[in-house]
Amino acid sequence: MNKDPTRSLTARADDPSVPLSIHDLTVAYHRKPVIWDVGFDATPGQLIGVIGPNGAGKSTLLKAILGLTPRASGRVRVFGKRYQENRGRVGYVPQRESVDWDFPIDALDVVTMGLYREIGWMKRPSAEHRRRAMSALERVGMADLASRQISQLSGGQQQRTFLARALVQDADLYFMDEPFAAVDASTEAAIVELLRDMRAQGKTALVVHHDLQTAAEYFDSVLLLNMRVVAYGPVAEVFTPANLQKTYGGRLTLLDEATEAMRRRERAL
């Protein structure tokens, strides 16, 4: 009855219980890494690790899903709808290095930014908004640092501030770009606990991660990425030496060579 394979895919994609459905996502732009034909469906209520070597396109994947990077092709559905129609259910934690921490603002104000959409254009945050931002800071163990200027925070504390900004939205699907990069042990433990909390509440998180040692412990599923999806599925099935070898080993695969040739050609033009 259903011979067209894309029809079943569409059916999955439009299913509002699937937090994230990606089909055929391709991003190509010069100088930076590209991702090709990425597709997967996220299982609800899972912590999903996005794992791959430097330049594999992990951050690009997140940015392409969120519309921060133009995509050449592909379809993204969040709870069955286009991302633009479902933004309210999505939280984003960018890489810590993506902003200038010397900005004249304190931790509480950064967290309040997570509520700006809800507050609305041209309006000021109310006491209730501040209280919610404060309780988000409490959840990441930073209540006593709320009024500290953000450059005075340690790297781990800055990362927690970013997490609190996403938490305050109370989203159902979270994207986190390297939340464990260069943080202290206690911050790492706090983030893991927070992620498990979120999972217990039925939330889904897609987390870019670079530490293979801890990946199997932290995540339910992993997406092994090196420009294309090497493997995706439950940790027990997918996180195997053979798959990791495919993801990390043999840096100069045919795909890399082709990309490199493409870049050289572009530069020569």
Partner: protein, 448 residues
């Protein structure tokens, strides 16, 4: 005196007229310039934080060909090219074209933003100077166009000043209304995009305000120095605060003051370009802020650093005394012995001993020796323990050689917080109440 004559020294009456703002025209011009300074301070705060401050410079330089072209067109069509709206419209068009050229160069070549800025700024300005030459040749009454280059409040009419005042007030109002959105844009544009904010439009609004401020400011400040009003007050304000709202308010205040004083000076000395006087006042305020700023000023940081170094010296003294008397009850530490323990100069040691006496941490024992007071002993014990815990950690967990460990510990121990100390205690299996562990290395130089 000669300079005064050259500038056309104003009479006392003229001075009084200006200072008391007796003349309606002067009053409106000074008011307009002040509002311009405030508006530029507010808008400049956002562009500075968006790291786009220099685009304003390229923009203002790029207005010149537009002004000259508008004059030529006006002269040939109506015989008189010096209609202000026409000139400003011409300037705005070529200024925006300049910014557009920067964006195009950045997008379609592999040149960086700095190169794009340099190219556009100089090419447009060069074209403007050439066109200005043409206007002089063509005749018509081109005199006065150069006041757009250096700024001249003296030649401004009250209607010009009203235009400045209204445009600046509008920019301030927009900045206040969109304060939260602009703050988000400047801090984290990626996050703003992910939340569905039209970042491109917000950037356009911000650039639009820069365009408006620059264009209306041309007459008062001049296109060469317009950038100063957009950059210096916000940069100076940053020394006084860690809060964006306060930064914009202080920038408005500093910008307003600079423009007020500069405009008055220029109104009294018609040959003194107002752009220059405004910038000089602004830079004086900047230097003051950089030195005295309550949050990041140089003096404040110097004082903080000095007090930190003194604290460290004091901690060194207490630990040294403690280590000298450690196993010999009731013995005072001689200054001579203390000298051998660290590389301090006699004057340094005497000064730190004096301060410790004043703080009642040590008291003189004999003429050339000190003894810890009860309070000093408690403090010294705590410090020594902290130091040795860190040393032990370095040796056992970081594999630092015992002979090197003392200096490594010295650097860090002064900034250890109670949490870290507690972690060290757990790690090294030391109970918090315990006395300092024995030193893992031989203490100090040879005993005299």
């Amino acid at each position: 005196m000669i300079a005064a004559i050259a500038l056309g020294w104003p009479t006392v009456v003229a001075w009084a007229d200006v200072l008391l703002l007796r003349d309606y025209n002067t009053r409106v011009v000074v008011l307009g310039a002040t509002l311009l300074g405030m508006g530029a301070g507010v808008v400049g705060s956002f562009t500075l934080l968006r790291k786009r401050a220099l685009i304003g410079d390229a923009l203002s330089h790029a207005t010149l060909p537009g002004i000259a072209a508008a004059f030529l067109i006006g002269s040939s069509l109506w015989g008189d090219g010096k209609s202000l709206p026409l000139l400003l419209a011409g300037g705005a068009i070529s200024g925006v074209l300049g910014v557009g050229a920067i964006l195009l160069i950045r997008r379609y070549t592999r040149l960086g933003e700095d190169a794009a800025l340099g190219i556009v700024l100089s090419v447009f300005f060069g074209a403007g100077v050439a066109l200005l030459g043409v206007t002089q040749q063509v005749g018509g009454n081109a005199a006065g166009l150069e006041s757009f280059i250096y700024g001249k409040t003296a030649s401004m009419l009250s209607s010009d000043a009203w235009l400045i005042a209204i445009a600046s007030a509008a920019c301030v109002a927009i900045s206040l209304l969109l304060f939260k959105e602009l703050a988000l844009l400047c801090f984290d544009a990626g996050f703003a995009t992910s939340r569905g904010y039209p970042v491109g439009w917000l950037d356009t609004v911000l650039m639009g305000m820069v365009v408006v401020i620059t264009i209306v400011g041309l007459q008062a400040v001049g296109l060469i120095l317009m950038i100063a009003l957009l950059v210096i007050p916000p940069a100076a304000a940053r020394f006084w605060t860690e809060n964006l709202g306060d930064m914009t308010r202080i920038a408005a205040l500093l910008g307003g003051c600079s423009a007020f004083v500069g405009a008055i000076l220029s109104a009294s000395y018609p040959k003194l370009p107002s752009g220059a006087t405004i910038v000089l006042v602004a830079s004086a305020l900047f230097v003051l802020s950089a030195l005295l700023g309550m949050k990041r000023g140089v003096v404040l940081r110097f004082m903080r650093r000095r007090s930190f170094l003194r604290e460290i010296e004091m901690e060194h003294l207490l630990r040294s005394v403690f280590e000298v008397v450690e196993n010999r009850e009731n013995e005072a530490a001689s200054v001579q012995r203390l000298m051998t323990l660290r590389s301090w100069s006699p004057a340094q040691l005497r000064s730190v001993i004096r301060r410790a006496q004043r703080a009642e941490l040590v008291r003189p024992d004999s003429r050339e020796a000190v003894r810890l007071t009860a309070r000093g002993a408690v403090e010294a014990k705590r410090l020594t323990r902290q130091h040795r815990l860190w040393e032990l950690y370095l040796i056992t967990h970081a594999e630092v050689a015992p002979s090197k460990v003392d200096r490594g510990a010295d650097a860090i121990e002064h900034v250890l917080d109670p949490e870290t100390i507690h972690e060290l205690e757990l790690l090294l299996d030391e109970s918090a109440a315990a006395a300092p562990p024995a030193s893992p290395h031989v203490i100090g130089g040879p005993t005299p």
